[in-house]
Symmetry: C2
Amino acid sequence: MTKTLKQYQELRDKINAYRYALSVISWDSETEAPAGCFEHRARQIGVLSAELYKFQTARETALIVNRLYKNRNELDPVLKHEIEQFKRSLTKIRKIPMTEFVEYRKLIAVSTKIWEKAKNAADFSLFQPTLEKIVAFRKKFVKYLETKKLKGYDVLLDDFEKGYKTKDYDAFFSVLKAELVPFIKKITARKLEYDDSFLKQSFPIEKQKAFLDYLETVLQYDRTRGLRKESEHPFTSGISTTDVRYTVHYYEDDFTSAIFSAIHELGHAIYEQQVSRELENTMVAGGGSMALHESQSRFYENIIGRSKEFWKQHFPVLKKTFKKELKGVKLRDFHRHINTVKASLIRTEADELTYPIHIMIRYEIEKGLFSGQIEVKDIPAIWNARVKEYLGIDVPNDRLGVLQDIHWASGLFGYFPTYALGSAYAAQIYRTMNKDFNVLKSLKNKNTEEINLWLKNNLHQHGASKEPKALFKAVARGNFQPKYYLRYLIRKYSKIYQLDKQ
Amino acid sequence: MTKTLKQYQELRDKINAYRYALSVISWDSETEAPAGCFEHRARQIGVLSAELYKFQTARETALIVNRLYKNRNELDPVLKHEIEQFKRSLTKIRKIPMTEFVEYRKLIAVSTKIWEKAKNAADFSLFQPTLEKIVAFRKKFVKYLETKKLKGYDVLLDDFEKGYKTKDYDAFFSVLKAELVPFIKKITARKLEYDDSFLKQSFPIEKQKAFLDYLETVLQYDRTRGLRKESEHPFTSGISTTDVRYTVHYYEDDFTSAIFSAIHELGHAIYEQQVSRELENTMVAGGGSMALHESQSRFYENIIGRSKEFWKQHFPVLKKTFKKELKGVKLRDFHRHINTVKASLIRTEADELTYPIHIMIRYEIEKGLFSGQIEVKDIPAIWNARVKEYLGIDVPNDRLGVLQDIHWASGLFGYFPTYALGSAYAAQIYRTMNKDFNVLKSLKNKNTEEINLWLKNNLHQHGASKEPKALFKAVARGNFQPKYYLRYLIRKYSKIYQLDKQ
């Protein structure tokens, strides 16, 4: 056993080193690598992925993992969980033929660039052949991975959020569709009155950066273990617990975009930074699941970050940073602005209330794609029709429609639903947190230390050392129930929109 | 043969992919990675290097290379040369025990951070134990690598510049010592008269950046295949011919530092960018040797970049960029400023004339270290004594003395001499170039296209596809002779310092 454990540790070190290299290359690629190198990089990523794949699926790897799996009850609980995970992913990965996997990775290494061009040209047809290839690969992989319990799209859903299937998401989204869509119609029929004249200005990027520096301090992001940069699409990269980086995108004419992107990504980043250092160099040192991760980013962004209590504390600093631009602007107006509900086109800029509807549209399309009811070429038309149906607006072009997200270009299907689930998780976790202390009152402090600490103790520290559903149950002290999310949304927006006062 | 070639190509792809990963990780580490992650990174680099090493020294690798080596006369000349190189490095690498190599790489992954701290504290004793470990490793490796023809320090010298030994450098430096040291004394005894009042200002970094953008266009650096960033110590990273990056360091109180660092690094970068695309994905797609590389950076920096003809064309743009700061400044004063000879402490900021003396000091210390005549603990005292002897100045502390360079902290011994050799190469190449066209006259053009093209045709395009000495002989149309370097230096500085007019 000692020998096998030593072999396993070497094996794990190797996998972690490959992943580290691929993470740094990906970070570099998304944030600064010159455009001209992308073919060369794609080739190198192809080779490295093939190596990692070969190694992960090697006979010796399987032998070591199987030996530990057999004796898993002798292992400490964290390692036991890790081995179970490994065994499961091994079973999966060994089902996909290596040559196909390598081809796929090569495709993905160039597909995001093609998507970017198509997006800039607002022309889905430029991206369609690539997306068709990606979907074909994914469908083939699904076939390889199907089990008695998991068929079709469920294979992908389970991959991103273990334990969640079409059946579960259908139940969740049907509640949203039944209750949220009409509520949104009621809200959007009203106009939130406030003075928005301050928005029609240019907000210098240097000042935006200065305020994000301040926000990092407020949210207690550890800058010695991370950094912030700019990219096309904001994201967080948890390279290790000592290296958690994130990006935003600055818009001179919309200063709140970078602020809320930053709070969102900082939610992810704080999660990764608060994972126990004891889990470093294991394979469970990151967040617990996609939905759990998203619950943290949404919690910081919306529940805390758009609350009046948060801005009571920090609006004066914001005004000081944009001294000229925000002169005379009232907290009430700012708070209303950042909580305005509006049927809109871009998911990442959607308000908290309409956000899950954007996800629902993507979920329905993905479900249709993998059941064979929808073909790639039909996606734009279906997309535009659903946006019209649920949000009542027209999509003027593909850039503002089907091409807005990088996910499908990266081969990520089954990922989107976890965003909505994450938002719902956040509301339920918030409810539990309030049983221990008054969260909004805690926002009077100069930083979010009390909140961070609670999340660290109840969720973050555990990393991915337990099953996602178990992690959620522990932090929320109960099973997932969509009603808490709905209740939170309806209460919050009824108040802001003063639905009771009519 | 076809099968072996295919196997070789796979093998080469793998090595290139590892090197690519390690290059990107190193670039990241030097330019932006958070301080807190360095232990984690060191571990990953250790694992990846071990993998690369294991793979390069594997029996199967040797079999493939040996098979091609045996049949090398059937290969095209480029591949033949590559195989010969590979065979040679294989013979070397297989002599070093893997565990020692991995330990060494782990040490190097953290040593530069320790050096940085010691440098900031201006305290050699903080770095001494680490340097002792590095030297001990290097000495052990030298022992493993010694052959009948190569002993001691020569092993390292040959590693960085094939064909050059202590005997060759001794001959080169003895000429410099005999003729340059007295010439420098003559020059530094004089004072170059010019109005330097414009220097005592603050030069905004944004404006410095704007001028470097302009310089990149002048030198025809292809920004779609590279980028510029900031780091502690300027360097160029030729990740591939389509990805050649460089760094500078900005000083608000010294705007010429970033300018000449940039021209220097752009010399390296243009070399890498002009390597034939046909060599991509081979193992000879980079520059031909250390000295050849340095000849290009020094050529652009000093021979072109500090000439009056270059600045006749570009000084107006510099003045426009620093409108306020350089108002009324005369070209004559600027030109004298950038060609002022001064015995100084920092190698990277030394003038063209005293520069090789800095190298000579390092060469003598390295030679002594590897012959056993000097111990690590004695280096600061020896360093300070030599600086006094050759340059006539006192070293106030280790930061401005022995700790100024990153090289030894990175394990690079035998590297420094190539810098001086490169400068000498540059002068001889310049002499040859002038036979084909008037180089200074060509600087009247708005960019250096004519010069770049000549260098591309005569040197750059070949990459490392031939022996370094053969590459030099082809571009210089003759063997290396130090006299051309001396003649160039004495002529140039006699004119600037008007030695004839006394």
